[in-house]
């Protein structure tokens, strides 16, 4: 398994690399009225419209300085998932989703035993566990639960 890591403030997070379609510099965001606070708005990536999820908001971290635009991660859509991803049962949304993060960092190869359950005090529903690579720890994010929490709160409520 490969993970893609990124920073929010000085905390390191990770998602499965197979869920990344592309990294790119921040694009101008069009705000959408009435949308919830964890959504920055919409961006246009080569003709495709994607919803931007603000990761700082999701983890209730204060916003960045306005001079720092951060970086963006475009997630794979369900139709773009490679076979390997489908086989391992990875979840992808139907529409393009962009994660707005402080900065993307690296890609790591993992072996399973390095994944640990999230510590009990972590109550964020979209944290899947903690990954240790050498002496660094990364919080592994469940994209499925993130999207369910942010984009489909009513689904969450019914659960």
């Amino acid at each position: 398994m490969q993970i893609s890591t990124f920073l929010i403030r000085d905390e390191a997070f990770a998602i499965n690399s197979l869920l990344v379609e592309e990294y790119f510099r921040p694009l101008p965001i069009t705000k959408v009225p009435g949308s919830n606070s964890r959504i920055d708005g919409l961006v246009n990536i080569r003709g495709r419209t994607a919803v931007v999820i603000n990761m700082r908001r999701c983890f209730e971290i204060p916003p960045r300085q306005s001079s720092d635009p951060g970086e963006m991660i475009l997630l794979e859509t369900s139709s773009g998932l490679v076979d390997e991803a489908r086989e391992t049962g990875l979840y992808a949304f139907d529409e393009p989703i962009v994660l707005n993060v402080d900065s993307v960092s690296q890609i790591h190869h993992l072996v399973d035993e390095e994944i640990h359950a999230a510590p009990p005090h972590v109550n964020q529903p979209f944290v899947d566990g903690v990954i240790r690579v050498h002496d660094k720890f990364f919080t592994l994010i469940s994209i499925q639960r993130l999207i369910e929490t942010v984009l489909q709160p009513e689904t969450q409520e019914t659960l």
């Binding site: 690399s17 379609e21 510099r25 993307v104």
Partner: protein, 802 residues
């Protein structure tokens, strides 16, 4: 040549100025970047081998091409960065070192301007013209008297040669006595100016007179001899008066080797230096240029300056300021000249050795030289005469030998076998003093200009903060942003590549190392460039700090020199005849004469608010500007520090200072700095103190002017916004400021310890946070000037970072 740096003069690794550190640096970056191309080719081949579709292959190939483009851009960027790096240093060094060269020549000019005022104001003292007139008159009559004396002596001798009973036995002895006295007949000048010769002569005359008294009919000869003696007595008395007055002046103004008064024939009749007096008086300077030019000086405001190294005064390298002395009674008649031998060698030494980096043992660093040349290109002063010898033509590039007034130039040249940068500035005089057409040159080893700053550390500021500051030129900031941008681009390309490869599954494994390598190269190159930019930023910071130190040093030096002049002036004035006369005998007439004298004196200076004469009881007797004193009629200064300090002065030539503050002698709350000197009865050196003369220096105007000249300017000579200059007293209280809003008068700013604990003459610089503002600051503490000790003040120059 630095001056001819043009756009096409691009970075080349072969340029001898590039430091070895940077060559290595450059090589490393270039090697890394050169490695990118084969990697990308490998990537493209791998893509062809593993791709299942044309789209896949295209995607990989496109990624590779983007990497190659970036590598090429980074290569250009690196060269550009080095260009900027070296150009920035050259630019900055040109500005700071040309300024330093100019400051040095300007210090000389300011000193020389004061000197021109000196000689002109001294020459109008009536003591000198009166003495000269008496001496001239006596000299003329002596000519005749000595001739007549010969005849009388011959007659006397002849009378004794007729043998008589009473005289016969003494004739031989008398003849000897007559011959003794007669031998002095052609020694007029010695008799007039050599006290020892005159005293011998007088003794001989006395002995002869005793013998003659025994004879008959010798009355006429005796009378004749008495006349000669009386005349000579008179000459010596006036020589003594003139000498004593010159000594008074000389002891107040220690920057002169000697001061002399001559007759119109060029005979020195008086001097200030008592040690040299027996060798100097009676000597003739008729052939010396300064004397010839002094005789041509027309009105009161005319003077001549001549450089001399071979005067009969044997004074070494001096600048002689000279002017004619005119008769006090007979208008325009020139009765003699005054020559003031300014100690050029010492003055040049002080200025030239200053503003130079020193080694731990206090010596100037090797390869650094500073010297002045005159309008012929001859060296007139040198910081190291063994290597840059005074009196010879300076070996300088042509451009440095044909400067225009106020102009500066810089270039590279080999000086004494060192690759050096030469910075020159020509004098443009100061105020109404035109200068002597001299130039100041500063030699700096080139390798010091481009010395590596890689390990530079600075307390109080982070590299990022520094990079964003106003110190860093826009062009460098742009480059910094560009490098950050490139760094991000490379990262994103590589990561996308890796993600892309990972999705190819097993097929993509071969691409992994390619992208890893690209990431490494990109990181390395951009990190190196950031390092270079930071080095550049620290270099910029260091030079800026150095500039602020130089300016703060200039600010404190200028004030020290100015105050030295004030301390010299007060000592001289306090000996003035009109002043002690008014105090010893305060008749209406005498007091008015003193007031007039004070007004005249003050009239020839622009930096005094008032000159105030007080009697020993502390009552103000006279003032140059009585209208400025509140309640002049009843003004008392008995409890003023300047008065009390001077009343307590024990020795002649002492002065006292009252530090900057408010004074009751000023209306409102105007601040002044008061110098004072004791006035002694009859102007005698051991005379009783009969009162005090105080001079109220116009501190606010004068210090404000100096602070303004020391505010930093940008490379185009425009004043940099937001800079502040201030003086702090011994207690770190602000006594003058260029920005009363941010650094108000009377406050005590929290200076960092290294700026507070400066020894005399020391400078420091660093980051200084004042309220919400962040500055860099240069500070220097007063070291005084010559025997003037300074008041322990410091000067501080601030430049905002944001």
């Amino acid at each position: 040549m630095i001056v001819e740096q043009k756009a096409e003069n691009k970075f080349s690794i072969f340029n001898s100025l590039i430091t070895n550190d940077h060559r290595e640096f450059y090589e490393k970056i270039i090697n890394e970047l050169i490695g990118v191309s084969p990697i990308c080719n490998q990537g493209k081949c791998t893509a062809a081998a593993i791709s299942e579709t044309a789209t896949e292959q295209e995607q990989i190939t496109e990624l590779m091409e983007r990497v190659e483009t970036f590598a090429a851009e980074l290569h250009d960027g690196t060269k550009n960065l080095f260009d900027q790096f070296y150009a920035a240093k050259e630019d900055f060094c040109r500005s700071i070192y040309c300024t330093t060269a100019y400051i040095k020549i300007n210090l000389i000019d300011r000193t020389l301007l004061e000197r021109t005022c000196d000689v002109m104001s001294w020459a109008v003292e009536t003591a000198f013209s009166e003495a000269l007139e008496r001496i001239n008159k006596s000299s003329r009559s002596l000519e005749k008297q000595l001739f007549e004396m010969g005849e009388y002596l011959d007659a006397a001798k002849a009378a004794f040669e007729v043998p008589t009973l009473e005289t016969n036995w003494t004739m031989k002895d008398i003849s000897q006595y007559v011959d003794d006295v007669r031998s002095y007949q052609p020694r007029k000048l010695e008799l007039m100016f050599k006290l020892a010769v005159y005293q011998q002569f007088k003794q001989k005359v006395d002995t002869l007179a005793e013998q003659l008294g025994k004879g008959k009919s010798q009355e006429a000869t005796l009378t004749m001899l008495q006349k000669v003696i009386k005349n000579l007595e008179d000459v010596h008395q006036h020589v003594a008066i003139a000498c004593s007055r010159l000594e008074d002046i000389g002891s107040s103004y220690t920057l002169y080797r000697d001061l002399v008064i001559t007759t119109t024939d060029g005979i020195i009749v008086a001097n200030a230096n008592a040690k040299r007096r027996p060798y100097v008086l009676g000597r003739c300077v008729a052939e010396e240029a300064w004397f010839k030019r002094a005789q041509d000086t027309g009105d009161e405001n005319d003077y001549a300056i001549e450089k001399t190294s071979r005067s009969v005064l044997d004074s070494g390298d001096c600048l002689v300021f000279s002017t004619a002395i005119k008769s006090a009674s007979k208008g325009d008649q020139i009765v003699g000249t005054m020559g003031a031998f300014f100690d050029l060698a010492e003055e040049a030494r002080i200025i030239l050795q200053d503003y130079m980096p020193r080694m731990e043992d206090g010596d100037t660093k090797d390869g650094w030289y500073s010297f002045f040349t005159d309008s012929d290109g001859k060296i007139v002063g040198s910081s190291d005469p063994d290597i840059i010898p005074v009196g010879q033509h300076a070996h300088l590039p042509r451009g440095h030998r044909k400067l225009t007034p106020g102009g500066t130039v810089s270039s590279y040249a080999s000086i004494e076998g060192n690759d050096s940068a030469v910075f020159s500035a020509m004098s443009d005089g100061y105020l109404d003093y035109a200068g002597l057409g001299w130039s100041s040159h500063l030699i700096v080893p080139s390798n010091e200009i481009f010395a590596s700053e890689a390990n530079c550390q600075m307390n109080g500021i982070s590299p990022d903060e520094l990079m964003r500051s106003r110190l860093i030129p826009e062009i460098n900031k742009d480059t910094y942003v560009k490098v950050q941008d490139d760094k991000q681009s490379i990262k994103l390309i590589s990561l996308n590549g890796i993600v892309f490869a990972s999705k190819l599954g097993k097929r993509g494994v071969a691409l992994g190392p390619v992208f890893e390598r690209i990431t490494e190269t990109g990181d390395f190159a951009t990190a190196k460039m950031e390092e270079l930019l930071r080095e550049m930023a620290f270099g910029e910071l260091r030079l800026n700090l150095q500039t602020l130190e130089t300016f703060s040093k200039q600010a404190i030096d200028l004030i020290d020199r100015n105050l030295f002049e004030r301390s010299a002036a007060i000592r001289w004035w306090a000996t003035d005849k009109y002043l002690w006369q008014a105090l010893v005998d305060p008749s209406e007439e005498n007091v008015q004469a003193a007031s007039r004298r004070l007004r005249d004196v003050n009239g020839s200076y622009s930096m005094y608010r008032n000159l105030v004469l007080s009697n020993r009881m502390g009552r103000v007797v006279a003032a140059s500007n009585p209208e400025l004193i509140p309640d002049m009629k009843d003004a008392r200064v008995a409890d003023h520090p300047w008065f009390n300090k001077s009343m307590r002065c024990k020795t002649f030539g002492e002065y006292a200072v009252q530090d900057v503050g408010e004074s009751e002698l000023e209306r409102g709350s105007r601040r002044s700095l008061i110098y004072s000197g004791a006035v002694r009865a009859n102007g005698a050196r051991d005379g009783e103190v009969v009162g005090v003369l105080g001079s109220l220096f116009d501190w606010v105007t004068e210090s404000g002017k100096i602070l303004k000249t020391c505010l930093p300017k940008d490379r185009n000579g425009k004043r940099i916004q937001g800079c502040i200059a201030f003086y702090a007293s011994r207690n770190f209280e602000v006594i003058e400021t260029s920005d009363a809003q941010i650094v108000p008068l009377g406050t005590t700013p929290e200076l960092p310890p290294e700026h507070r604990e400066l020894a005399a003459g020391q400078s420091a610089s660093g980051v200084f946070r004042l309220g919400d503002h962040v500055y860099i600051m240069g500070s220097s503490r007063s070291k005084g000037y010559r025997e003037y000790q300074g008041l322990g003040w410091s000067a501080h120059i601030l430049r905002p970072l944001f």
